[in-house]
C-alpha cells in the first residue's frame, strides 16, 4: 500500500508537471502514469465511500470509458453526502467546531482532500473533469467550456442530488399521486429518510474504526428502483440501531396525531408545510416534475378534482336555469334571433338540390371524349317518334304514272267500256302490278325475318277493313252473268251522303236559319260567279276551234 501510494503520488506529480498540449497526442507512457495516479486516488477515497462496490480501481486492460465509469460509481454518493454535510454545516456553523479531530497523517490528508474536493465545487462533472485532468484521460474536450456549461446546471443538480435515492424510488412508483393519501405522504417520507440517512452516516463515521462494511449498506443499491421498500427495511433495520432515546420514547407514546396529524383542522397547515418542502426540491428529472406540480396546493389531487367537478356542476346548473341560446331552441324565425346571427353559426340542413358540379379541366376533357366517342360510333340519343298504329284505312292513293302509256287510247277506252259492262273482269292496272311485285318481295323478306325471330312475333295491329267500297250495284259484283241487275248499291246511304250534320227541310227552318241559308247561298254564288267570269275569259277563243 505504501509503495503503491508513493508510486501513485509520484505519478500524480508527474502528471501535473507535464504540459497541457502533450495530453492531446496519444502517449502510452503518459496514459500509464495517468492510470496509476487514478488508481491511487481511487484507493485513497475508498474509505470514505462505504457503499462503493469496488475496492480498487481496475485499470489493467480497461477502456478509458470503463475506468471513468468506475470512478463515477464511487464519486456519485460521495459527492451527495459531502454536499449534505456542507449544507448542514452551513445551517449550523457551530457544529464545525464540534468536528471530530482526526489523527494527523493519512486522515488529515484525507480530510484535506475532502475539503479540497468540496471547495472545488459541488458539480460532479467539474470534479470529474478535474480528476480527468489530473489523471490525464485521453479526452480532447475543452474543459473550460464544460465548466461554464455545467455551472448553470449546478444549482438544480445540487438540490437534486440530495434526494437522488428517494427520487429514484418515486420514479419507480409512477407518481406520488397514485399512492398518496391521508396516511402516507411521500414528502414526509422523504424528509424522514433524509434524517435517517444523516443519522446513519454519523453513526457510520463513528463506527468506521470498528467496522469496514455493513451488510445492510451492501444491500442498498443506488440504482435500485424499489428504493422505498428497501429504505423502509433499512429504516426498520436502523430502528434497531437507533441510539437516540428520544425516538424510542416517541415510539412508545406514538399516537395517531403524531403520524397523521389532526383530522380536519390541520389539513391546511400540513399542506403549507409540504409546500415549503416542495419548493426546495425541484426535479431535473422530467417525470418527477409533473408529479410535483400535481401535488402543489393545499389539497390533494383528488380533492382538487372534486372541486373542479363541483364548480363545473354549478356552472352547468346555472346555465340550465337561464334561457337557452337561439341555436338550441327549436324552430327559430328571423325575428327571434339577433341580426346576422345565422351567418356566424355553421348551419347544417338538407339540400334538396344537388350542388352544381365543379367544372374542372378533367370534367370538360371527359365530356369531350365522350362526345367524340359517340360521334365516331354514331350512337346518339335521338328522340324516336313512336310509330302510330294505323287506325284508319289508308286511302287508296292513285299514283300518277308519268311514263308514256303503253296502251293506245283505243285500248284504254275499250278497257273502260269492258269494266263498265262487266265489273268483275277488271284487268290489272299499273298500280296493281306494282303492288303484286311488292307484295311478293315483301313476303320473301318477311319469311326471312320471321326465321330470325324464331317465328315468334307480335301479331299485326288490328285495322279495319282495307277495302275500297265502290258504289257499284251489289248484285252486279257478285254474279258473273247478271241476269237481273239490282239497284242495291254497295255503299250505305250515309256513306253516299255528302253533307254535314243534321239536314233540315225547308219547312223545318226557323226564320233566322232561313236567312242564314240565303246569305250563305249568296256568298257562294258570288264567289262562283267571279270564278266563272275568269274562266269565260280563258275559254273565249276555244269554242271556235272545236267547231272547225
Amino acid at each position: 500500500m505504501a509503495g503503491s501510494t508513493g508510486a501513485g503520488e509520484e505519478a500524480l506529480r508527474r502528471l501535473m508537471s507535464t504540459n497541457q498540449p502533450s495530453f492531446l497526442a496519444p502517449n502510452p507512457a503518459l496514459s500509464e502514469t495517468a492510470r496509476a495516479a487514478s488508481r491511487h486516488l481511487f484507493s485513497a477515497l475508498r474509505p470514505f465511500c462505504p457503499k462503493s462496490p469496488l475496492d480498487q480501481l481496475l485499470v489493467d486492460g480497461f477502456d478509458a470509458e470503463q475506468i471513468w465509469q468506475q470512478i463515477d460509481l464511487q464519486s456519485q454518493p460521495l459527492l451527495s453526502s459531502l454536499r449534505r454535510q456542507v449544507k448542514h454545516f452551513a445551517k449550523n456553523p457551530k457544529e464545525i467546531s464540534q468536528l471530530k479531530v482526526v489523527p494527523l497523517g493519512k486522515k488529515v490528508e484525507k480530510e484535506q482532500e475532502e475539503w479540497m474536493e468540496e471547495s472545488d465545487g459541488f458539480d460532479e462533472e467539474l470534479e470529474d473533469d478535474e480528476e480527468g485532468e489530473e489523471k490525464g484521460e485521453e479526452y480532447g474536450m475543452e474543459i473550460e467550456e464544460e465548466d461554464g456549461d455545467q455551472g448553470g446546471e449546478s444549482g438544480s443538480e445540487e438540490e437534486s442530488e440530495e434526494e437522488d435515492e428517494e427520487e429514484k424510488g418515486e420514479d419507480g412508483e409512477g407518481g406520488g399521486g397514485g399512492i398518496e393519501d391521508k396516511f402516507l405522504k411521500i414528502d414526509e417520507l422523504t424528509k424522514y429518510l433524509e434524517k435517517e440517512e444523516e443519522n446513519f452516516e454519523n453513526a457510520e463515521r463513528d463506527m468506521r474504526g470498528k467496522k469496514d462494511a455493513d451488510d445492510e449498506e451492501d444491500t442498498e443499491d443506488e440504482d435500485d428502483h424499489d428504493d422505498e421498500e428497501e429504505e423502509e427495511s433499512d429504516e426498520d433495520a436502523e430502528f434497531g440501531f437507533g441510539d437516540e432515546d428520544e425516538e424510542a420514547e416517541d415510539m412508545e407514546n406514538a399516537r395517531y396525531e403524531d403520524f397523521f396529524g389532526a383530522k380536519k383542522g390541520k389539513y391546511s397547515k400540513k399542506k403549507k408545510a409540504q409546500l415549503h418542502q416542495d419548493s426546495e426540491s425541484s426535479d431535473d428529472e422530467d417525470d418527477d416534475m409533473e408529479f410535483k406540480k400535481q401535488n402543489k396546493g393545499t389539497a390533494s389531487t383528488h380533492q382538487k378534482q372534486l372541486e373542479k367537478i363541483q364548480s363545473k356542476i354549478e356552472q352547468m346548473e346555472k346555465a340550465n336555469l337561464e334561457p337557452k341560446t337561439w341555436t338550441m331552441q327549436g324552430e327559430v324565425t328571423a325575428a327571434k334571433r339577433p341580426k346576422n346571427s345565422a351567418l356566424e353559426v355553421d348551419l347544417d340542413f338538407e339540400h334538396n338540390v344537388r350542388p352544381a358540379p365543379v367544372i374542372t379541366e378533367e370534367v370538360t376533357a371527359s365530356i369531350e371524349d365522350m362526345i367524340k366517342k359517340r360521334i365516331t360510333e354514331g350512337h346518339f340519343n335521338d328522340v324516336q317518334r313512336a310509330p302510330k298504329l294505323p287506325s284508319k284505312v289508308p286511302r287508296e292513293v292513285k299514283e300518277l304514272d308519268d311514263n308514256k302509256s303503253k296502251q293506245g287510247l283505243a285500248e284504254i277506252y275499250e278497257q273502260e267500256y269492258v269494266q263498265k259492262e262487266d265489273p268483275t273482269s277488271a284487268p290489272l292496272s299499273f298500280k296493281d302490278e306494282q303492288k303484286q311485285q311488292a307484295s311478293v318481295l315483301f313476303k320473301k323478306l318477311g319469311l326471312k325475318l320471321d326465321a330470325l325471330a324464331h317465328f315468334s312475333f307480335a301479331p299485326k295491329p288490328v285495322i279495319e277493313d282495307m277495302s275500297v267500297q265502290i258504289n257499284v250495284p251489289a248484285l252486279a259484283m257478285e254474279e258473273i252473268a247478271p241476269v237481273a241487275v239490282s239497284d242495291a248499291a254497295m255503299l250505305a246511304p250515309e256513306e253516299v251522303f255528302d253533307g254535314k250534320g243534321d239536314i233540315k227541310e225547308e219547312t223545318e227552318l226557323t226564320k233566322e236559319e232561313r236567312k242564314r241559308r240565303r246569305a250563305n247561298k249568296k256568298r257562294k254564288f258570288k264567289a262562283a260567279g267571279v270564278k266563272r267570269t275568269g274562266k269565260k275569259m280563258q275559254e273565249g277563243a276555244l269554242p271556235n276551234q272545236v267547231n272547225g
Binding site: V397, K398, L400, D401, D402, N403, K404, S405, G408, L409, A410, E411, I412, Y413, E414, E416, Q419, K420, I470, N471, Q538, G540, A541, L542, Q545, V546
Partner: protein, 220 residues
C-alpha cells in the same frame, strides 16, 4: 215516188177486187251511203303538212288498211296536191264513216299516233280540241319557251301524267296544243294545261289531277 205507185194501184184495184191478185209488198232496204246523196260520191280531202309527210309514208299501210277494209272508204294520196283524199264506195255502210275517217286522218296529221287516232274510228264520242298558248296567256320569248317546257315537263313526264290521269292524248306542237279524248276528259286536261301555262308548278297540277280523277273513278 216509187213507193206511192203500189198504193195507188192497190186503191184502184180494190174496187173491182174480183179477178186480180195483189202484188207482194215490196221490201226496201235501207239506203246506202252513196244512194242517200242521190248516188253521188262524197269526198273528203285532208292536207298533209310537211313535217307529217315522212311519218305518213311510213304509216301509210296502217292508215290505209282500217279505212279501206273496215270503214269501206276509198283513200288515196294525192302527191301533187299533197292531200289525202277519201271517197265513199257504193258498199260504204254508214254515211258517218267518211267523216270519221277524215277525222282520223286529220288527227294523224295533227301529230297523234295511229294507235291513238284509231280510237276516233272506233268510238263516237271522241273529239279533238286544239288551242294555242296565246289564247290562254300572252307570253313572249323566254316566257313562252318556259311555258312550253312546263307543259311537257322533264322528258315529257308532266304531259304523260296528264294523259294517263285523264285518258286523253295531248300533242304540243310549238305553240299549238291538241287534245284527243272524250268531252269531259278534254275539259280536265285543258284545265290542267291552262293552269300550267298560267304558271302553276307541276306538283300542284298533279295534286289537282289526283283529286279529279279519284272523283271520276268513284262516279263510275
Amino acid at each position: 215516188m216509187q213507193s206511192n205507185m203500189p198504193l195507188s194501184s192497190m186503191e184502184v184495184e180494190a174496187a173491182p177486187s174480183e179477178a186480180k191478185l195483189l202484188p207482194p209488198k215490196p221490201k226496201f232496204e235501207p239506203l246506202k251511203a252513196h244512194e242517200m246523196s242521190d248516188g253521188q260520191v262524197q269526198f273528203r280531202k285532208v292536207s298533209v303538212p310537211q313535217h307529217r309527210y315522212n311519218p305518213l309514208k311510213k304509216a301509210w299501210m296502217d292508215i290505209y288498211t282500217p279505212i279501206y277494209e273496215q270503214m269501206k272508204i276509198d283513200i288515196r294520196m294525192n302527191l301533187k296536191a299533197r292531200k289525202v283524199e277519201l271517197k265513199t264506195r257504193p258498199d260504204t255502210p254508214d254515211i258517218s264513216n267518211l267523216q270519221k275517217c277524215a277525222d282520223f286522218v286529220h288527227a294523224f296529221m295533227m301529230g297523234f299516233d295511229i294507235i291513238d287516232a284509231i280510237a276516233l274510228l272506233r268510238m263516237d264520242e271522241l273529239y279533238v280540241e286544239s288551242f294555242e298558248i296565246k289564247d290562254v296567256k300572252t307570253l313572249r320569248g323566254d316566257h313562252l319557251s318556259r311555258a312550253i317546257g312546263r307543259l311537257s315537263g322533264k322528258g315529257g313526264k308532266t304531259k304523260f301524267a296528264i294523259e294517263n290521269a285523264t285518258k286523253t292524248r295531248i300533242v304540243i306542237a310549238d305553240t299549238k296544243i291538241h287534245i284527243l279524248g272524250s268531252f269531259a276528259n278534254i275539259k280536265i286536261a285543258r284545265d290542267s294545261l291552262c293552269s300550267l301555262i298560267m304558271g302553276s308548278p307541276a306538283g300542284k297540277v298533279y295534286s289537282k289531277l289526283r283529286a279529279v280523277t279519284a272523283r271520276l273513278a268513284e262516279r263510275f
